[in-house]
């Protein structure tokens, strides 16, 4: 028999949102996590603004031992460990005892890049004929699965411990992977999440593609403008989000708070065919993914109350709205509420799916729809499709029953997950 899967823990390390309570405040008030970075200006970047979590030395000391902090330069590990450990504690779970792991708990913690800064240090040493000076942690700080390895050791997880990677789809895809593992009875608890490191060496490639805004360096908080007519490109971000997924049986047995139920989800690819390419999604695949998620979750198109979109603040936002509208066969005033977390934290790349899933689940828990930032001038082609009232400009009180979250990534890959309110 298939198991029901619920969410029992949340953790986040986001721009202007380190820790769930800070993140919730930022989302509610619609504050911006985007700031100017002198480091980017000094290197001659066109886009000199970004979203970066503020991790103080005191926070580092609370999560990492002196040995772990020694030579720790992979910001993807820092963000992922903070979010992952927080989610675990939030779910009321303990670290496994010293002698034996928890065989029923696993981890899917995705990453795009993890420790580009560590890689850079290593490259300098190797090019100076000084490979012997790298030390023992270069490998774990630069291997993609360094984050799941780190968390697996800290928490003592004995089920599957792995890292997935599918560009900006990573976090949402990982959530679905963990869901499937519990649903099929192969694990009782899965820590799912994703992380994305910070800095010029992570973001430079995007700056070179001229897909980041360059006219907001003096007004960083106005730069990320999903669904706006004046959207000028996505603002690069970084951080990590994490959720503890658990079988309903296990959650009830432990008597813990249940944030929401995961009803189902789907992943697919547009194969870079049709209007799809390496960098643009095939609309048929996006719609197919949304429809497959609904089918998997056994919900009707009309049941969706709120959508948390991918919506990066590029001209592709218009296509995404059309795809949602066509897939759900709903438009105008009949369309669900829709928002984009990226107006607040920017596009956190591999971490976007998990950070935004945390935001989506918080809406179910708090009975809110978070306001969209920087889109008083909604794109006219979006308004031709859906009613302006469905794009709240401020946070509104509204208890959704069913919400959809989707992410789309380079490589023409898609993921969509459906969450349901769990009656308190």
């Amino acid at each position: 028999m298939k198991k029901r899967v619920v969410i029992t823990g949340l953790g986040v390390c986001a721009p202007k949102g380190v820790g769930i309570s800070n993140f919730l405040k930022t989302l509610q008030k619609g504050e911006s996590g985007i700031a100017f970075h002198q480091e980017l200006a000094a290197l001659g970047f066109s886009c000199q603004i970004a979203g970066k979590p503020e991790v103080t030395p005191a926070i580092l000391e609370a999560y990492f031992s002196p040995l772990q902090r020694k030579g720790l330069s992979a910001s993807g590990i820092v963000y992922g460990v903070i979010a992952g450990m927080d989610a675990w504690a939030d779910a009321g779970l303990q670290k496994a005892a010293k002698e034996e792991p928890d065989w029923d708990s696993g981890i899917v913690f995705g990453a795009g890049t993890l420790g580009v800064d560590t890689f850079r240090e290593a490259i300098h040493l190797i090019d100076a004929n000084n490979t012997r000076r790298l030390g023992s942690t270069t490998v774990i700080q630069t291997m993609a699965s360094g984050i799941s390895a780190y968390l697996g050791g800290i928490l003592g997880c004995g089920n599957q411990v792995t890292t997935n990677s599918s560009a900006c789809c990573t976090g949402t895809e990982g959530l679905i992977m963990g869901y499937e593992r519990i649903r099929s009875g192969m694990a009782s608890r899965m820590l799912v999440g994703s992380t994305s490191d910070s800095g010029p060496y992570v973001w430079g490639g995007f700056d070179a593609m001229r897909i980041l805004p360059n006219q907001y360096n003096d007004n960083p908080t106005l730069a990320s403008r999903p669904m706006s007519d004046s959207a000028a490109g996505f603002v690069p971000g970084s951080g990590a989000g994490a959720l503890v997924l658990e079988s309903l049986d296990s959650a009830l047995k432990r008597g813990v708070t249940i944030y929401a139920e995961v009803l189902g989800g789907a992943v697919n690819s547009g194969g870079q065919r049709g209007n799809g390419s390496m960098t643009a999604p095939n609309s048929a695949a996006v719609q197919g993914c949304i429809k497959a998620a609904l089918k998997n979750a056994e919900v009707h198109e009309k049941d969706i109350d709120v959508i948390n979109g991918h919506l990066t603040a590029t001209k592709k936002d218009v296509d995404e709205i059309r795809n949602w509208s066509e897939a759900l066969q709903r438009k105008g005033i009949d369309f669900p509420y829709i928002n984009s977390t990226k107006g607040i934290v920017g596009h956190c790349l591999a971490a976007s799916g998990s950070i935004e899933s945390v935001a989506t689940v918080l809406q179910l828990k708090e009975g809110l729809v978070f306001g969209n930032q920087n889109c008083p001038d909604i794109h006219p082609e979006i308004l031709a499709c859906i009613d302006a009232s469905k794009i709240p400009q401020q946070t509104i009180q509204y208890q959704p029953k069913i919400v959809a979250k989707a992410s789309f990534g380079f490589g023409d890959v898609n993921a969509c997950v459906i969450f349901k309110e769990y009656p308190k």
Partner: protein, 85 residues
């Protein structure tokens, strides 16, 4: 540098690599780094790098193979400093 001081410097380097359940007082001349102090063998290369920085010497791979105990490390440090002088 006197022997006492060298031991103190080495002890300060080694203590950060100890597992949570091994105290600093456990570090003695006869202590084996991996089997007695329970230091992760991967961290031995980090200890070697820290020793190189602290004593301004270079420790070769073959020296590292001989470095089983605190006493072994102190002997290697002595030899390197002697050769340097």
């Amino acid at each position: 540098m006197r022997n006492e001081e060298r031991f103190k410097t080495l002890k300060n380097i080694v203590k950060i690599y100890l597992p949570e359940d091994v105290s600093e007082e456990a570090i003695e001349a006869e202590s084996n780094f991996t089997s007695e102090l329970n230091i992760n063998s991967a961290n031995l290369v980090d200890i070697v790098l820290d020793v190189e920085d602290a004593f301004h010497i270079k420790i070769e791979n073959e020296d590292m193979d001989q470095m089983k105990t605190v006493k072994d490390a102190l002997y290697i440090i002595d030899q390197k400093l002697l050769n340097k002088a």
